[in-house]
Structure formats: structure tokens, C-alpha cells
Symmetry: none
């Protein structure tokens, strides 16, 4: 009794993002994802060879969406100050949507060698973005020595967002203000 299903891959991805986001990697099982996607477990394995591979793909897709939005802002003609505000805004919202996904990213980094590659991709995208900001900052006030190690900086920014996100929902506005100020502080813009 095989059904005919439209956009299976997309449905898997959406189900994956949803479930992994809420429960994290370990507490998510394939049956749950399948049910959420409205398909059979076996079907999952027609698209991804393993739970891990599925997760990594979900992770990538998820960040892809975010980067798409961030890139648009980075390439816009808005003033740096405004860009940072928007950056924080988007990152905050996106990361908030997929809590578990972000954390697993950190967790895996500690246990699974394969994820290093996955992480590197994401980090590199991020570094580029931060670099743009930093270069814009430099042209205005050119002197950040140690802190200019962009790779580390970019990680910290993401992490900061992850952590603040895990707190209560009510203070979102405050959180964002704080983060924007934080980033500007780091970039010597205040």
C-alpha cells in the first residue's frame, strides 16, 4: 500500500528541522521524524542513509536559509549600524526557531569527527559575513588588534545568540538590544 507523496524530501527536511530543533539529536528518533513527515520509516532511508546523515543535511539546510537572509543584508547599502541591528534580529529569530539544531552543532563538535567538516562550512560562511562588518568598521575607525581574529569572533557571536536564546521568552527585545550593543562594542563602534 505505498502512497504517492509529493515533495517527500522537503517534508522530511521540514519534519527534521522541527523535531531536531525541539528535541535535539539524541532524543529524536527516526520514527518520530517519519510520523511528523507523514511517511514510513523506510522512506526516510530512501533519502538519507542514516540518522546522522539526515541530521547533518537538516543542519545545513537550516543554516542555508539563514545565510540567504544575512547575505542580503550584508550586501545592502544600509549603514553599518543598521546592518548589525538587522543581523542580530535575523540570527536571533532563526536560531530561536531551531534551538536544538544549534546546540547539537556544538555537542557533535566534541564527539564526531565527521561534523568538523559540516561545522567548518558554516563557520566559514559566518567568518565571511563578520569580515564584511569588520572591514566596514575598519574603514571608519581602523584599529582592532587582537580581536580581529575573525574566525574566533564569528563563533562567539553565534554562540552568544545561542545562549541568550535559551533564556526566557519575554525579554526578547532587551536581549536583542543587548546583543547589538555587544557586537558593536566588540567591533569598536560604540
Amino acid at each position: 500500500m505505498p502512497k504517492v507523496i509529493d515533495d517527500v524530501e522537503k517534508r522530511i527536511q521540514e519534519a527534521g528541522i522541527k523535531v531536531f530543533s525541539v528535541r535535539g539529536y539524541v532524543d529524536t528518533d527516526m520514527k518520530t521524524i517519519a510520523k511528523e513527515a507523514g511517511i514510513a520509516v523506510g522512506t526516510l532511508y530512501n533519502y538519507y542513509p542514516s540518522k546522522k546523515e539526515l541530521f547533518f543535511n537538516i543542519l545545513e539546510i537550516s543554516w542555508e536559509e539563514t545565510f540567504f537572509q544575512l547575505d542580503k543584508i550584508a550586501n545592502s547599502q544600509k549603514p553599518l549600524d543598521k546592518k548589525i541591528d538587522l543581523f542580530v534580529d535575523i540570527l536571533y529569530k532563526e536560531i530561536n526557531k531551531r534551538q536544538g539544531l544549534g546546540f547539537e552543532l556544538i555537542r557533535f563538535n566534541n564527539t564526531d569527527p565527521q561534523i568538523k567538516t559540516e561545522l567548518d562550512k558554516i563557520n566559514q560562511r559566518f567568518e565571511k559575513l563578520i569580515l564584511v562588518l569588520i572591514q566596514e568598521a575598519d574603514s571608519e575607525e581602523a584599529e582592532h588588534k587582537l580581536l580581529s581574529e575573525e574566525a574566533k569572533l564569528s563563533k562567539l557571536v553565534v554562540l552568544s545568540l545561542l545562549v541568550l536564546n535559551s533564556d526566557c521568552e519575554k525579554e526578547q527585545k532587551k536581549d536583542k538590544e543587548f546583543l547589538a550593543a555587544f557586537v558593536k562594542r566588540i567591533l569598536y563602534l560604540d
Copy 2:
């Protein structure tokens, strides 16, 4: 550092720190801890009702040790600048020793409501420490508005350490310099 009276309890804790640190929560099983502690699995359950409870206790103990050292520095008469360097030094070393413990802290925060309490304790201790630094900074240069939300700040510092730690081993010295500069930057000390 509260003296652990019972010999068995202490052995469990030490074994727990050791194993959880290396493997993280999920990849650690009770048998391994028992073996490491030189006792039987059943005995574990005479002291802790569940794996989770055991883990939370381990987590607390583990930070306890770190805070003991940090407090000493905070209360010392060293100049603020020096204090920060030592802080970063100790935190870096301690966190490095217990990778898995730190990451799980983040992971759990997302899935388990019970850990919030555990985390709060740790965070509160941290906030106090950061507060001390900030107050010292203020007395020297009194003007950090938004950033003064200590709670958030303290989290960011810990997180920063976690993340940088997960990278390669070789750059430890550089990492620490970066972090110290980072903290000072945030505290308007540069």
C-alpha cells in the same frame, strides 16, 4: 570545597567527572562509571536515584572546584587587569579538563526542565564573580550601560571559553590572550 565524607561517594564523583568529561552524558553508561569508581552498578543507585541525578551532581561538584579557585582570585588584592588574566587562565584550563561536562550543560538546558535549576546555581555564582570585576572596572571608568547586564555577560564569557576550547590544542596560548582581551574589551578596560 566541601569535604566529601564518604569514601564511596567521593569515588563515584571522581569517576563521574572523569568519564562524563571525556564522553559526555549520552555516551557514558552507568557500568563505565561504576567500573571507574571500582564499585558495582547497584551501588551507584544507593547514592543517586538515576543517571541524570548523578550527572547533575557531578556537574555541580565540578564547577564547585572551579569556583573555589576563581573566588580566591576575585578576593585577592591583585590589580583588575591581572585578575582577568588569571580568571581566563583558570577557566580555560578547567573547562578544557571537562569538555563533555560543559557541553551537556548546554544540551540539557534545551531539553530538560530540571536542569534550569542546576544551571541557575552555576550562573548565579558566575554573575557574582563577573559583578566583582565589573564593579572594580566601574570604579576606574564608570560607564557601561547596556552591557552591564551581568547575567548575560557572564554566560557569554563561559560560552566563549567552551567554544574556543573545542578547537585545536596548539593555539592555547593565543586563545587565552584573545579571551583576556575580549573580556577586557567588554568591560571597557582597554
Copy 3:
């Protein structure tokens, strides 16, 4: 050797022989056979109702080929001694080509009642062949009492070939000599 009319059916059979021979029944899956045959899995089921049925058919086909060759020799005018040598030669080669097929034959015999029929067909063909040899032997030297239970004898011969085949590749020549001597011994021809 019955001509296979349909192209698809033949391709399935050839693929089946190839794959089952190498991997045996359990380790072969329908997808692999389909791929090897260059058709879709579904098509397999248009020709055979189940994997087992497919296997049994493959088995039959496979022996069919062998018997075709053996019959030719049995019906030839060569001396008995020469016939036996050729028999062993062909059987050895054929069985060697389809390891997995032979073993499964034994395996199934133990678990599946349906295969009995399949086996019986093969055995009967074999008995006839052995009978021919024995009768020729008898006319020369007429006295094998107990051993003349052809049915059993024929099985033993095939089995012997199966077993010796599973050994190393290097000793093929020796093996064949041994087997020929073995058969002659049994038939009181030495």
C-alpha cells in the same frame, strides 16, 4: 537447454544466477538482482511471485545447464573411465561457478518444505546419470551390493564436490584427481 523466449526473463535469470551464486540466498536482495538485470524491482515481481520462487527457478535453470553437459557425456561412446573424469571435471567447474547456489540448496532443504520438490527433481536427474555409470561398471565387474543405492550415492558425489570446492583455489587439479579416484573407488572400478 530450453531457449528462453522472453528477453526480460532471461536477463532476470542470468542476473539471478550471478548474484545468488556469489552471495547466497540470504545476502542477496531483490534490488541487487534487479539492478544486475537492468530492470526495476517491480518487474521482477511480474515474472516471479516472490524471492523464493525466483531463487528456486534460478536453481533449476542453473542445474539444467549442467545436466545438459553431463547428459552429453553420459550418452557418448567414451570408455567409462574417461566418462568419470569428464563428469568430475564438469561438475567441479559448474559447482565452482555457483558456490552460493549449491549451499543454499542444502540450507533450504532443512527449513523449507517446498524445496524438497525442487531438490527431488535435481536428485532424480542425478540418479539417472549415476545409474548409467553404475550399469556400465556392472557390466564390467558386477558386484556392488549395498553401495548400489544409487540415490544416496549420487547425493554424496555432489556433496563431495561442494565441499572440496569450498577450499582453496590452488589445488583444483589435485582435487579433481582425488574426486575421480573417489568415484571410481566407490564404483569398484579401481
Copy 4:
């Protein structure tokens, strides 16, 4: 609710022999063995790390028992003729008890490299036994050339027993007579 069970290992082995014998390796699942042994599945894994390991052990145990009996006969003072009769008798009975076990032995030989070792052990034991018979035969009538390749011979004898066993139950007496004659024939004792 862990029960206290006596002789778990023995019960596992007996259950294993029973189930594997009837169903063979592939068609046997761990749950069935556990149920047959009256224990939980997990308990199985307290004694054997995997299904395969369990099977190999069962195999070994099973033959051990048989060899114990065969050795006794080989070392007795009975006449060669009588020994052979007893050999066949015991082998026939033992192999009959554990159909599937024997066949899997052949099957695995074809697919799993690890079993080669297992098989070698059994074969070597067998060769020794056959050697004893052959040497006794030789001292009486010393001339078997090609057939004296004991290794191959011993395999054929076991195989012969396996195959004849798989037939109907009614002819047991006849089968045994046939086999004894067969062995004697091979050993030039008739």
C-alpha cells in the same frame, strides 16, 4: 524484577542448540532463543557479545560433545570394523539432533571469514580421528594412494552423514548400514 536463574549459560547453550538446529542461523532470532532459554534478550548479551558469537560457541559446544564420544571409541580396543560401525552410529545420531547447525557450518564457510577458524578446529579434530582409522586400516592392508588425503576424506564422511540425515526418518537403519559400508569401502576394508 530480575529473576535469579540457575545455569543461565547452560540454558542458553541448550536453547541455542535446539533453535539453531531446527531453524538454522538466519531464521533464528535472539528473542526466540531467549524465550526458549526462559530468559530476557538482554541476558543473552551478558553472556555473548553478538548473535554470531553465540552461534559459533553453540557450534563448538555441539561438536565438543560429539567428539568426546568419538574419541572414546577411537581409543578403545575394539576391532576396526566395530569402531567404524559405532562411529557412524554416533555421528548419525548426533548430526541428526542438530541439522541446522551442521548446514550453517557449510553455509558460513562460504560467506564469513571468521568461521574458517571455527571450521578448521572441527576439521582438524576430525582428521585426527579419521587418521586413526586409516592407520589401523593400513596396518591390515596397506595400500590406499590418492584416497589417503585424510583432510578431504574426513570432510566427505561428515558431509555424507549430513546429507543422508536430511532425508526421511524411516530409513535410518538402512542409512547407517549404507554409511558404514561406504566408509569401509573408502578405507579399503571390504
